[in-house]
Symmetry: D2
Subunit: 252 residues, 4 copies
């Protein structure tokens, strides 16, 4: 079983008729599955829809399966400076997060909520939110973000809400309908990749995954062409939060 052929044909036709070029864009996905490679990840299954779209329009895609990497928990940029022997995240941040135009936090649902791997990535991204760009904006300004979630039952919307909240809070733009998820009926049941009973034939989920991919492309294109978010009214350096009268003396 896989995505219906007609759906695939439709998706391909959309890529061929793309209204712009996207081959300068970079996409970064964090997959928060609790299964290490090469075990099958259902989240990876649903990811195929947007990733095939990104690739077919020439965007570069990188996927970090968090659990396969040595990434300590913590709230400092480099945890190897805080007692941990190794920390791959600073390299991932510099090589993959910084150049990314599109960031997708993907992952499973456990007990109706985000996995520990998803929370860990959000913690580590947050640790860099103090960095600012040349306009004084937070480092994530100019990127667009999305949430993609699978579970055998209930929790897609809650997970999406918490992930998207985090992404916008640290500075990303959330495009329209940027939450793509599948889950089955209440109770134990098939997972996304489980044949006919799974999610690959769910037209609603497929549609939303397509909408998400294209809206991410549209907003990323728009922001890149505009040189990011205009640098006015959002300069972190203008504010001295320790002072209730607050605006930075330099500004005055």
């Amino acid at each position: 079983m896989s995505i219906p052929e007609e759906t695939t044909n439709y998706i391909d036709a959309l890529s061929k008729g793309a209204p712009s070029r996207y081959d300068d864009l970079r996409v970064l996905v964090f997959n928060g599955t609790l299964k290490r490679s090469p075990e099958e990840s259902n989240t990876e299954g649903l990811l195929k829809v947007p990733l095939e779209i990104f690739e077919s329009v020439g965007a570069r895609v990188d996927v970090v399966r968090t659990i396969d990497h040595t990434i300590p928990p913590g709230v400092w940029p480099d945890m190897s400076e805080h007692g941990w022997e190794e920390d791959e995240f600073p390299r991932i941040y510099r090589d993959l997060v910084v150049p990314a135009d599109i960031v997708i936090i993907a992952g499973p649902i456990w007990l109706g909520d985000q996995s520990s791997m998803t929370r860990k990535i959000i913690e580590r991204l947050y640790a860099y939110s103090g960095e600012t760009n040349e306009k004084g904006q937070w480092a994530y300004y100019g990127k667009v973000g999305a949430a993609l979630t699978t579970g055998n039952e209930d929790g897609g919307k809650h997970v999406s809400a918490m992930v998207l909240y985090s992404l916008q809070h640290i500075g990303m733009v959330v495009p329209p309908q940027s939450d793509s998820y599948w889950n089955g009926e209440a109770g134990p049941g098939p997972s996304y990749l489980d044949g006919e009973e799974g999610g690959q034939h769910n037209a609603w989920t497929n549609r939303n995954a397509v909408f998400m991919a294209w809206n991410l492309l549209h907003l990323a294109r728009m922001l890149k062409d505009a040189g990011g978010i205009p640098g006015h009214g959002n300069n972190a350096n203008d504010w001295d939060l320790s002072d209730p009268e607050h605006p930075n003396p330099e500004y005055r």
Copy 2:
């Protein structure tokens, strides 16, 4: 007590140095306070920061204090066609929601969550999400959304997460740092407008309210100049959700 003068001066200076024109933009705020006019709304207090910014750059601002209106609960566009005697929402939708470029769902926190008035507005906005524009996109495409929240204690982030989730899910863009909130220390305590102990001197909240206002203006400007979100890959009419093979026969 009110916003520190230096902060106000800084905000004014930002408006004077605005990098673009915004006097064609319309802003709509739903205030979900549980207090009817003319009782003082703390949420209205914090709203002053972004609203003064919008007004100073010439944008039109409309505020709907939900509790002051006859808006039945329900999930149909016009509840007067479903047994309710009166329903002001269809008019509010046509006159204020449709022409709005920026939509802010503001409101208080009760028991760490959204007020019943906030939930009601989200239900009623959702009831119109089946409408599509001339590109086949959901009716809210092209708008930008934000959440603004006050409470005497804990719950700002949870309320923001649920509000912003709803807005992006029905088609709005969520700009960077689009959640503006104030709340005090855990436990009973002052409300936003309660003098020195309240929130008006909280530099972090003031900063975020300013960031939110300007990021809403930036994204609204960008979207309006671009004619909305490009109409590719997000056409609701292309999909027949009742058919697992799904793409609309007309498309093929």
Copy 3:
């Protein structure tokens, strides 16, 4: 279509073999559906499982369909003293909430969250949380609470989490597995009462509804027989929250 006969037989057998008497217990349900009587409520459909159990063991059951009543929003015990013409809630509180041993907040899911009617009841219950019993405990001490939720898709766990949080926060005991819900696969689809495709044949949901009913009976029985929660360490009158040194002078 309805609950499978074998399930019903099993449920009946459980009632006949009840290990105790429960005919002194009172159950109160708030149904937060957005549909007024006599329109069909899917939530009412799932409620039948626990309510038939309660009735078959002789407990008294009262159901308040919130939307059928004149209950203004607000955070005061009696909103008719705060500018509203009519308020049925004080009577509901005195006649039904106070004597209830078991309180179930039931309702639908909209956009993955609680309905405005559910939020309103939580606000109004919260307004009475300042009342204390003869032990100085909050008024809801001694009661047990549960959440029952239906939706055509995703959101059961999130709604349950927020409802149960509220109930324990104001003083109720939450028994094991006290969240009973049904929802279908991601996307548009059948509602609970929609024949074969709906939820009445979902064994997991039926099981959880049975577990919930019996665990509510067990804990309510236990608490009633014990005269409520022991009055030690939880006396609200011992604390003066306005004083950081806090314990009530009378205590010392």
Copy 4:
């Protein structure tokens, strides 16, 4: 700075006047801080209130600071059987979780939500939820659960809601007012242990921590004396979830 002396005296007086014996009870705390020992944990700071109460009435207390242990993420009881070199959790489960009467999930707030360490413990506890006791009830039946949370700002209620939801869903009883938290005003600010500005003088938080401790003791006492939750109507073995007609053939 520390808890006000008068508060401490009051707490001690409560312990001396305890209405029952509790020295047969065991308390297990998981601290989900992201800081490894011996770094100071603010959550540990607030934990002192309930733990001193438990110890002063003779209950045994064990604290697992999750980050100090080799506990892989995952959803199987023993991850060392699923490719991980080492897994301390099976031993923790057998030696500390199984004999515990009271389980507290404590932890910090990051971006308004649970830490990755908190989510990991919930995942691992959930992995054992298939186990049943001699009555056919889920293994966690008979235990009582609570949430204790600290953060420098906003998120206490949301974290509590998700933690308590998880605990009741896997079978624990949640006593009244079982969420104890402290956080400061919106924005950057002091943490719980940060002197006069921190949380130790917050009478509301101290009160709630005391209420939580005593309500946990009361419910644990009640359940232990009753031999757990009565075994009627909640036997997992009676249900065959794969069969929509469901009740176990043996039952019939």
